[in-house]
């Protein structure tokens, strides 16, 4: 019993509710929300250290024992994800202070920002499929509001598609839960895992597993359900795009990894090829999309699609190293992607556009932005000594170890495409003739880059200190690959 588990989503929920009352007082809102984000980071670090020391932490809400009541569970993977969401939440918030228009701030930007974090953290920590659904919805409704806030024509048109798509996915989710409950008679993840193991994962259970894959794949932007992402992430302001790009798709991937390691790992011959090949096609499509586009934000959005594929391949390979690589990839991607979207926002602030062909020569007027982009860009392309290198290396190594040579080859080849599109951004935006006016060239962006600096440091640290960090992620992946740890701590050890 540890009430600590409630805090990561209770704090943002309560603060978000309080902030609604002060919607017209921007200064107070900023102060409160900044304080809360720092507090959440503290809680997340403490949670991770507790989970590291004590193993899986379980909270039975309201003291109802495990299969009957609602449980919250934090294993290492969940705690890592909560920490990442706290980091991204904090940095994007500080970026938002400088960039979000006061009209947005007055119309409940901060409350919905925190409700979004409530949903994200809740989805990471819940031990119950139905609660996963509820937290998904909390996250989605806030994301709808944040993505459409501002109400330009482009935003209205694209977020309509985003909303319809996600509501359809939610309906599918309910239907899937109905089937799950009919077959197994439970929605508690640990008990579900136990019963699926007893029933042997064949026939209808495989169908249910695939349904979950489709539902979470829609939220995680996997091929062929990725098309909404590049267009809807183009509309909202950079702070929101960075938060979404860093965090939201990863919640879908988290749910896929959770269900396929805990509940449906028993029929690898069936699930493994599907996961691997969907992942492989996703990275190729994302890579090609990034190469073919000429817009800062769109290229970054296609990269999200591409990189989601790597994570799913890591899960599909299903060795200890491959899953660790997937976790590494998620962490690396959250950090780097957030930073890149923040640069896109900064460049947009300077030049007033995100179209590559109308930009140029930023390196002369804003060298710091240029070099920070350079570091992050080669980090995402997988060049040592940054974090992308280690994650891609361990993924490729494990694909060769399991004799998936083609997939390993695809992963490497698309790495080239990623590098190419990053170089393309660098050449168009930072090199070449200066296309922005002199007055624009004098725009001060130091305070905009401040939130991105910790991210650059983090990606370097993740790359340089690869050995201890990878072994830590291996610990997390071993915990994932042995579902009995999770099951026992929920059903037997709970309440202790």
């Amino acid at each position: 019993m540890n009430n600590l588990l409630v805090l990561p989503f209770l704090i943002p929920f309560a603060v978000g509710a309080i902030l609604i009352l002060f919607s017209k007082r921007i200064g107070l809102q900023r102060f409160l929300s900044g304080l809360t984000a720092i507090l959440m980071l503290g809680v997340a670090i403490y949670l991770l250290s507790v989970v590291r020391a004590e193993g899986v932490v379980v909270l039975e809400v309201g003291n109802w024992s495990a299969p009957f009541g609602i449980v919250l569970v934090a294993d290492l993977f969940a705690a890592i994800m909560v920490l990442m969401s706290a980091i991204v939440g904090l940095l994007c918030l500080f970026f938002a202070f400088r960039t979000i228009a006061p009209e947005r701030e007055k119309f409940y930007f901060y409350p919905f920002y925190f409700f979004l974090l409530t949903g994200v953290n809740g989805a990471f920590l819940t031990g119950d499929i139905f609660n996963l659904f509820v937290f998904f919805e909390v996250m989605l409704i806030s994301s709808y509001v944040l993505i459409v806030m501002g109400g330009t024509n482009y935003q209205l048109r694209e977020s309509l598609k985003y909303v319809v798509m996600n509501i359809f996915a939610s309906i599918l989710f309910i239907a899937t839960m109905a089937f799950t409950y009919a077959v197994t008679g439970t929605l508690n993840m640990a008990q579900l895992a136990e019963r699926v193991a007893e029933l042997e994962q064949v026939g209808v259970l495989n169908v249910i597993a695939m349904f979950y894959f489709i539902v979470f794949g829609m939220k995680g932007a996997l091929f062929p359900l990725y098309f909404w992402l590049p267009r809807s992430y183009f509309g909202p302001p950079a702070a929101v795009a960075a938060l979404f790009g860093g965090l939201l798709t990863k919640v879908g991937i988290y749910a896929i990894i959770r269900t396929f390691t805990l509940i449906f790992p028993h029929n690898q011959e069936f699930t493994q090829p599907i996961l691997i090949w969907v992942g492989a096609v996703t990275i190729v499509i994302g890579g090609l999309g990034a190469v073919s586009n000429f817009d800062f934000k769109r290229i970054l959005s296609y990269h999200i699609v591409s990189q989601v594929g790597y994570m799913v391949i890591g899960l599909g390979l299903y060795t200890s190293l491959a899953v660790a690589a997937a976790i590494y990839y998620i962490v690396h991607n959250i950090i780097v992607k957030t930073a890149l979207f923040l640069y896109a926002g900064t460049a947009q602030r300077i030049t007033g556009t995100t179209d590559l062909k109308q930009m140029g020569g930023l390196l002369k007027t804003h060298p710091l932005l240029g070099w920070m982009f350079f570091i992050t860009g080669i980090a995402i392309a997988g060049i040592p000594p940054f974090s992308g290198f280690v994650s891609k290396l361990s993924l490729v190594v494990s694909s060769f170890e399991t004799e998936h040579y083609v997939v390993g080859g695809i992963a490497l080849a698309v790495g080239m495409l990623t590098l190419f599109s990053m170089i393309k951004i660098f050449m168009y935006v930072f090199w070449g003739e200066q296309k922005h006016t002199k007055a624009q060239g004098k725009t001060k962006v130091g305070d905009l880059l401040l939130p991105a600096i910790p991210l650059v440091i983090l990606t370097t640290v993740l790359g340089v200190a690869a050995q201890p960090i990878l072994s830590f992620f291996l610990e997390a992946s071993n915990q994932l690959l042995d579902p009995s740890i999770y099951i026992d701590s929920v059903l037997k050890g709970g309440g202790a």
């Binding site: 509820v134 409704i141 109400g151 209205l156 309906i171 309910i174 239907a175 109905a178 409950y181 009919a182």
Partner: protein, 112 residues
């Protein structure tokens, strides 16, 4: 009874899917509403439509009803109600902004 409900669910899904595939905005919203009703019925039906006393300690009975599906469906219902109202407002705003509810014209740029 289960068979009747299953057929109802099937019809709801069929009509909902049909509406979802049309080009008019309002029909798509209606399609999603019908689909979500279908999903809620499915949730209720798949857990078995039992009759029995409420599962309370002081009530003695041969059969008890399972309270969980009802709690689930209530939650899902409330969520889909909120989502639907948001979607309606959003479609209305989009309609006002673009003066059309034809999705062909809401596609975006011509090359995509």
């Amino acid at each position: 009874m289960e068979i009747l409900m299953s057929i109802t669910v099937g019809v709801l899904f069929m009509v909902g899917t049909y509406l979802l595939l049309t080009k008019s905005l309002l029909r798509i919203v209606l399609g999603l509403i019908l689909l979500s009703h279908g999903a809620h019925f499915l949730l209720l039906t798949m857990s078995g439509l039992q009759s029995g006393t409420p599962p309370l300690l002081n009530l003695n009975s041969e059969a008890y009803a399972d309270p969980l599906p009802q709690a689930l469906v209530l939650t899902a219902l409330v969520i889909s109600f909120g989502m639907t109202s948001f979607l309606l407002v959003l479609s209305y705003r989009t309609y006002k902004a673009f003066k059309t509810d034809d999705l062909e014209q809401l596609r975006g740029s011509a090359d995509e």
